[in-house]
């Protein structure tokens, strides 16, 4: 269930901030500019009906520019459509504005993203570690974090 109409609306309103639109297996992904995510999120919620944030997570594309992607999987309860929004986050700043003011759901997933991926969220009401211990060092889901722990040799799978 592709929602081309919302993407067109988004393009019309934020032409310079919509960087790319990808369709894969019937799912739409919109890449947008990092600095305008709050504006775009508010627009998607209020004007396009994406009132439900299913999930928020970070992906580490180590070796690429920008290194991280923050992914927002949105759902429209009325029209039952899905839309994925992505922003690129560079390694130096590793931060993006919080969307917890738009969808309260974002609070914990953003904490998790900070905890495991090391992406911080500006203006987040309560940015603490959530799954790892409070005094943990490092961010385990980063690709350069060894799967067997920081104090051991990197894991070599049979395939690598």
């Amino acid at each position: 269930m592709c929602d081309q109409a919302s993407v067109e609306k988004l393009k019309a309103k934020f032409s310079s901030a919509v960087l790319d639109v990808i369709e894969f297996r019937g799912e739409l992904t919109v890449m947008v500019e990092k600095g305008r995510i709050v504006e775009i999120g508010t627009f998607l919620r209020d004007e396009c009906g994406y009132d439900f944030l299913c999930d928020l997570c970070g992906v580490d594309y180590m070796g690429q520019q920008p290194r991280f992607m923050v992914v927002y999987n949105l759902y429209n309860i009325t029209t039952k459509q899905r839309l994925r929004v992505k922003v690129g986050v560079d390694e130096q700043s590793a931060s993006v504005d919080t969307v917890s003011g738009i969808w309260s759901t974002a609070n914990w997933p953003e904490r998790e993203c900070w905890d495991l991926m090391g992406i911080s969220f500006n203006n987040h009401p309560d940015l603490r570690r959530i799954l790892m211990a409070a005094d943990w060092e490092g961010h385990p889901l980063r690709k350069d974090y060894p799967v067997q722990g920081p104090d051991r040799e990197p894991y070599q799978s049979r395939l690598s």
Binding site: C57, S104, T105, L141, V147, L159
Partner: protein
């Protein structure tokens, strides 16, 4: 005016009513909760990190251990996501889809029975616990017969299911599903009209429709807040669109509404199971995709192609086209989502699980603040959380 002092108490992570290793720091003014801060992560096993170092097939057993009260729903969500990534969704044989629906609904019953048992026990209705576990035991037996394991089933596979149903099991499942409405009547007889139960649940843990959507509640908790939302109907998978079932929606938004919504859902589940059994026709249970699904044992032994495919899939897995998908299914506790990113290798580049309990638990502080300490127990129970999937 009496002099009062705020008291901070620690509940869990070894408290029987927190349903696992959940820790709550509660700030109390007398018996009234002023602030609740959940602490999670005690069961974190790094499922998402581990999955980046395993082939797509090797991830399935990890998913069993997320929501361990509903393992087959977790298997199913993951397998549907991989199938979508591979583009083989339409090639799943009819029989496999029917078995999947049947198992998903048995899993829903299994999960709801544990919820009902523990929720009632927490509030003090002990009899229900024994009855609900009696019925749950029968589903565990069915699990054992189809998959060999009572809890960590690993039954639903990419492309179909592990094995066909053993002889005679269809009849057993039918008898079970037909007997279920009477059992639900029995639970309702113990609870629904019970004054104590009503006092402990009605008007407790109220969350409005707008708040519920904003905080991201899903599943029965959202439906009890008046949102007509069910992914089996709204984003059908495994042929759910062809089954006839109702979606119980309630508008009271309280613990009692969530209780009724789940019980009504259990009745619908047994209806779906009977429909699935009626349309079960003989046929293959695994898709005919030799590069992805394991060949039959006799092919491995007798043909060179079978042997090669078997060897390749076991030793190096299968390569998946570059791309990303998000698949959400209606798990017993709400929307269970899998976001998979593939870089073209035989292992997921990134797998993000959207566990329903994780998001539902977020609503706990706003539901308990201003309520009595005893209501905290009722509200944890009504959210139906499992720490296995919250902590992953």
């Amino acid at each position: 005016m009496a002099l009062t002092e705020k008291m901070t108490i620690n509940m869990g992570p070894q408290h029987p009513s927190t349903h696992g290793v959940l820790q709550l720091i509660l700030e109390l003014d007398g018996e009234v909760v002023q602030k609740a801060t959940p602490h999670i992560g005690f069961l974190h096993r790094g499922t998402e990190k581990l999955s980046e170092h395993r082939t797509y097939n090797q991830v399935i057993p990890l998913t069993d251990r997320l929501d361990y009260l509903a393992p087959m729903s977790n298997n199913l969500g993951y397998c549907l996501a991989v199938e979508k990534l591979l583009g083989i969704t339409d090639e799943i044989p009819e029989r496999a889809n029917v078995i999947r629906v049947m198992m998903a609904e048995l899993t829903r019953l299994k999960s709801h029975l544990v919820w009902l048992a523990t929720h009632a026990l927490d509030i003090g209705a002990m009899t229900v616990f024994l009855y609900a576990f009696r019925e749950r035991e029968a589903i565990t037996d069915i699990y054992e017969k189809v998959s060999g394991a009572r809890m960590t089933s690993n039954y639903i596979r990419i492309g179909g299911v592990t094995a066909d149903l053993p002889a005679g099991l269809e009849q057993e499942i039918r008898e079970y599903a037909e007997s279920m409405p009477a059992h639900i009547d029995e639970y309702e007889g113990l609870l629904t009209g019970n004054k104590i139960w009503q006092k402990r649940t009605m008007g407790v843990g109220v969350i409005s429709k707008e708040d519920a959507i904003d905080i991201g509640l899903s599943g029965p908790s959202l439906r009890a807040s008046g949102v007509d939302w069910d992914l089996r109907r709204d984003a059908p998978y495994c042929g759910y669109e062809s089954y006839d079932f109702d979606i119980p929606v309630r508008t009271e938004c309280d613990t009692f509404a969530r209780y009724k919504a789940r019980l009504d859902e259990m009745r619908q589940s047994s209806r779906i199971i009977i429909q699935a059994l009626d349309r079960l026709q003989p046929g293959p249970v695994v898709a005919d995709c030799p590069k992805v699904t394991l060949p039959a044992k006799e092919d491995v032994v007798n043909t060179i192609e079978g042997l090669i495919h078997h060897f390749k899939i076991i030793t190096e897995g299968f390569k998946v086209e570059e791309g990303e998908v998000y698949v959400g299914i209606e798990a017993p506790k709400g929307e269970l989502g899998y976001y998979l990113v593939s870089d073209g290798s035989p292992m997921p580049y990134r797998m993000k699980i959207r566990p329903p309990s994780f998001v539902n638990l977020q609503a706990l502080p706003q539901m308990v603040e201003g309520r009595l300490l005893a209501d905290v127990i009722a509200i944890i129970g009504t959210l139906d959380i499992v720490l296995g999937e919250i902590d992953r």
